[in-house]
């Protein structure tokens, strides 16, 4: 029997004692980015291939010096701590520590007071992730230059699309650019229902959504609604009056809720659309919480909200033809009182959020609820 023990020990040692040295890192992320000039108006917004920096309006964009923190061991070109001309967006390439992977980041630097308030939803670009394409809806100026990109949860749906084996078709995503706009193209939002087990536990439905802000590339799958960063980066130094535009809506037939056993998690039994605007004190929020955005859990309840524009539920009806909507901004009870000085200084951000399912953020809704939106105008006042 001794021999067997010896052999057994040999196997045990072979298997356990030869943990190899750790391989060099394969990731190539920009973890943080600041400007040496100290002109940042808001925290930098870092996405998987894009960084947005918002600077003071006096800043000279032709010479700014970004300082990066990267995945340990990774390198960047052009190098960190070297000045560059950001009048046009600049591309930086990060190479992983093991040298096998490269990732490009485009860095956009914008000044505040460049806010876009008329939205046509007429252009889009397709983005590929893990072999599937989805739309990013864009706004352009009269010369065709892109002036803003709408955010959506599409990137988060890539995982569900992969697990469910969906075809590579952007119109199977929750949000896409529709051909049949009122004028040109329109924004189309459709509530989807992922079938895969692990996705559906945390996100049993995926409402189509479109919003001003960003979608966090790092998604904690147990808290998906944290990924929608409403209003991030959108400084709005004016007094908002209303959101106006056109919509069509058809609710899906079968209403489902995430936690049916928990009666407090839902209020309704049918689906409806939602479009709302939130004007909030991003500067104070950043000081208090290190975040300057609202997410799916607090977008309608945060104490930093100054004003809100949202229709009562009864007024958000179905419509098979293009129907106008008018949503006025009102003071938010229990929020932050309006301070004109802070407003002028650019302390406040504004988010516009649209969803094919009103309770999409808490994953209640009806599959196939479809919201189409076109020709939206954010009305505001400059004299106050």
């Amino acid at each position: 029997m001794k021999k067997f023990y010896i052999i057994l020990c040999l196997i045990a040692t072979t298997i356990s004692s030869c943990i190899k040295d750790e391989a060099p890192n394969a990731e190539a992320d920009i973890v943080s980015c600041t400007l040496k000039e100290d002109v940042l108006k808001r925290p930098p917004i870092i996405e998987n291939n894009k960084i947005s920096l918002m600077v003071n309006k006096e800043t000279d964009l032709s010479s700014l010096t970004p300082i990066f923190e990267l995945t340990p061991g990774a390198t960047i070109n052009p190098p960190s701590n070297e000045s560059n001309n950001f009048i046009i967006p600049q591309v930086y390439t990060v190479t992983s520590e093991d040298g096998k992977w490269k990732k490009e980041y485009t860095i956009y630097v914008t000044k505040d007071k460049e806010t876009i308030t008329h939205y046509t939803f007429d252009t889009y670009t397709s983005k590929e992730e893990s072999g599937r394409h989805y739309h990013i809806i864009q706004e352009t100026d009269d010369f065709g230059a892109i002036t803003m990109e709408w955010a959506s949860g599409n990137s988060g749906f890539v995982t569900a699309a992969g697990m469910d084996g969906l075809a590579d078709d952007p119109t199977l995503f929750p949000t896409y650019s529709g051909e049949d706009g009122r004028d040109g193209r329109c924004a189309k939002m459709v509530t989807r229902k992922p079938k895969s087990g692990f996705v559906s536990i945390f996100a049993p439905i995926a409402a189509g959504n479109l919003f001003i802000g960003t979608f966090g590339e790092e998604v904690d799958i147990t808290k998906p609604a944290v990924a929608t960063h409403f209003g991030e980066g959108n400084i709005f130094p004016y007094y908002p009056l209303s959101i106006e535009g056109y919509y069509k809506y058809k609710a899906g037939p079968k209403w489902t809720v995430k936690n049916p056993q928990n009666g407090t998690d839902y209020e309704n039994t049918t689906d409806t659309w939602d479009i709302y605007g939130v004007f909030y004190d991003a500067a104070q929020m950043y000081i208090d919480t290190q975040k300057s955005y609202l997410d799916g859990y607090n977008v309608l309840t945060s104490p930093y909200i100054v004003m809100i524009a949202r229709l009562p539920r009864a007024e958000r009806k179905e419509a098979s033809e293009w129907t106008p909507f008018y949503i006025p901004f009102k003071k938010f009870e229990g929020g932050t009182p309006l301070d004109i000085e802070k407003l002028k200084r650019g302390d406040y951000n504004l988010a516009i959020v649209m969803s094919s399912s009103e309770e999409g953020a808490i994953f209640n809704g009806a599959e196939n609820s479809t919201l189409c939106v076109d020709d939206v105008e954010l009305k505001f006042s400059e004299d106050f």
Partner: protein, 254 residues
């Protein structure tokens, strides 16, 4: 598991039928210098890359699970020292592990489709494969009590399970530069590579026996797989994995 029980019952029935005229049978065997042995043993080991690749950072737990091997072995002795051993056995090669990995290629599935990417974090693996194994070994008697055997075997996969789940970590979708999906708390996602297992295995078997009395022996047999357990066109796991299992048990010699 059902299948496994059926295989075991079939084997037992065959042996029961074969041992009807046992006395006669034993005498005849002895006349021809043949040992006929029924073997039962526990199987302990691992289905593992050898050596461990750099993606595996630590093994957090290992459970050999209760797996059994049943079989028959025939040894024809040509002289006092040397003989030839063969037979057939039904082996279960099973284990459960939890390992911490870094940048490990992964294919997660549980709906109709799958997502690929590089996983950093924890991986649970359950292996439970059953094989019919046929060894052909040279046998050598060290003494009247001790004997050794060694030779190649082939094994046919009968029942397969190579699956598990990932947790407490993150997936970079597509490749290490893809979007990051973070799994915390109870979040898990499963994988299943059972369909990618190779049906035919071969390897080397090393065995030793200690004779307790005329009919009973204690046996130890190490089976060392020499080919990858996965099909060669299966690329998700970037390294080869081998079956290395030790069967320890007893045998009854007629």
């Amino acid at each position: 598991m059902k299948k496994q029980i059926i295989y075991i019952c079939t084997l037992l029935l065959l042996f029961a039928a074969g041992s009807q005229a046992q006395n006669n049978f034993s005498q005849k065997l002895r006349q021809h210098n043949i040992d006929f042995e029924l073997k039962a043993s526990f199987s302990i080991g691992g289905t593992s890359p050898l050596p461990l690749p750099e993606e595996i950072r630590s093994i957090e737990s290992y459970n050999p699970t209760l797996s059994l091997s049943l079989g028959a072995q025939v040894t024809k002795w040509f002289n006092e020292k040397w003989g030839l051993s063969s037979g057939i056995s039904f082996d279960t090669k099973a284990m459960k592990t939890k390992a911490e990995v870094k940048n490990y290629r992964m294919e997660l599935r549980d709906g109709g489709g799958l997502i690929k990417g590089n996983w950093t974090g924890m991986v649970q693996t359950t292996v439970n494969n059953s094989y019919f194994t046929i060894p052909v070994m040279a046998a050598y008697r060290l003494s009247s009590i001790w004997s050794l055997r060694m030779g190649p075997y082939i094994a046919f996969l009968m029942d397969e399970n190579f699956s598990g789940y990932v947790y407490d970590g993150y997936l970079r979708e597509g490749d290490p530069t893809g979007p990051k999906r973070i799994f915390t708390g109870d979040a898990t996602a499963s994988y299943d590579f059972s369909d990618n297992l190779r049906n035919l295995q071969w390897g080397l078997q090393f065995g030793g026996s200690w004779k307790v009395n005329r009919h009973f022996r204690l046996n130890g047999d190490l089976q060392w797989g020499m080919n990858d357990i996965f099909h060669s066109d299966f690329n998700t796991i970037t390294f080869n994995m081998y079956n290395v299992y030790l069967n320890i048990g007893f045998g009854y010699i007629f």
